[in-house]
Symmetry: C2
Subunit: 228 residues, 2 copies
């Protein structure tokens, strides 16, 4: 009997692993055991064990000592969770007074509990948005995710004006700070100066000049095609 064709519902834990592996393997390069362990705050042996189970279920391709990749089925499941997560975040912000710094944890739990029907009702209520409050693209219900070419602010040359698209930050305090200075998806930002050796970056946002650290500059992803 082929395990890959059996479809009991995935457990919470499995859903978390698949999502983590998706996030850790950009363009299909394999994710390492230790990266996954770190990301999920699990011991490496726990991850090894789960990897074995998931490969047997046909959700992963595992090359021992080399890392794992999602199969088509695993990828589908991961994208389903990401769609849920991002739509839930968008819904909570739009309708229930959440702010972008407080939605993550709530969505993290709800994504495992909502039905497909509820997710689609939330999507309808929102008018089927393309992105969540942080600018992260929302995969379609059939698992297609928009891939936009985007540049970390840290790599945008001084003098260039770009549009902020995604804010890949999860710490609530950082998000609150970014929101308070107008660094949200859609903001127009001009890079004024880069300090050397991965040093701070000076920006203009609206009328204000701001200086941000290099690490934050890596987490702010921009669209350079709007350069003026």
């Amino acid at each position: 009997m082929s395990a890959a064709t059996t479809h009991d519902p995935l457990t919470r834990s499995v859903e978390d692993y698949l999502k983590a592996i998706y996030n850790l393997s950009p363009e299909g390069r394999p994710a390492s055991t230790s990266d996954i362990a770190n990301h999920l705050a699990r011991s490496a042996p726990s991850v090894s064990g789960m990897i074995k189970r998931l490969s047997e279920q046909g959700l992963l391709e595992h090359e021992p000592y080399r890392g794992v990749q999602l199969t088509a089925e695993g990828r589908r499941a991961a994208l389903r969770m990401i769609r849920r997560h991002r739509l839930i975040e968008a819904y909570l912000v739009a309708f229930l007074g959440y702010t972008w710094d407080t939605v993550h944890d709530e969505a993290e739990r709800l994504e495992h509990a909502v039905s497909d029907a509820l997710v689609e009702r939330m999507a309808d209520a929102l008018g089927n948005p393309g992105a969540d409050p942080h600018g992260e693209p929302i995969p379609s219900a059939d698992g297609v995710i928009e891939e936009v070419a985007v540049t970390p602010l840290a790599l945008v040359p001084a003098g260039e004006t770009v549009e902020l698209r995604r804010v890949e930050v999860t710490q609530p305090d950082r998000l609150r700070y970014l929101g308070s200075v107008g660094l949200r998806p859609g903001a127009t930002v001009t890079v004024l100066e880069h300090q050397p050796f991965e040093g701070p970056i000076t920006l203009r946002v609206g009328e204000q000049e701001r200086v941000i650290g290099y690490d934050l500059g890596q987490a702010l992803l921009c669209d350079r095609s709007v350069t003026r």
Copy 2:
């Protein structure tokens, strides 16, 4: 070390047991192992085992071979879950296009995943309703539940007019039927005739006469104080 003072978050399973026990022990009479097992679709030994763990945690009082009762702490936890469940049902019906026959399962899963903060935001969005879509009273956030004297329609004498308050029915098809004939909380109903031996009951609802089975008549709870 007192187990009763330790407060790790309750598991899903524990939350379900507490809710079931609450529902099975009206005015504090003990609930039996087999009732609980039936209600939750678990084997009796599974229930015995869980009862042992929950009493050790101080959530239950267990008298072996006699049944269980919730402690104050267990009752508080149960009412918290019931508040969640009913508010979620109300929210889904009010804002996301659910109908009273489809909300139960969704709420059953969500009640374990939402935060207290989200529950209260939903309550605010609804204007702090006193009852869910089936007319079941919603406990307050501090665990007080309204106890209204209510009579099963099956016990209302012929000739009397009453207001329907609660519909204690869970099967979706029955709920759809009841909704389609106007038998919802708030409806005014006149009992026209009772057939003997727990037989069908003839009613007037609005302009229509309807005949319902005795079992349904037991699940429709009325307020007789509005008799005219």
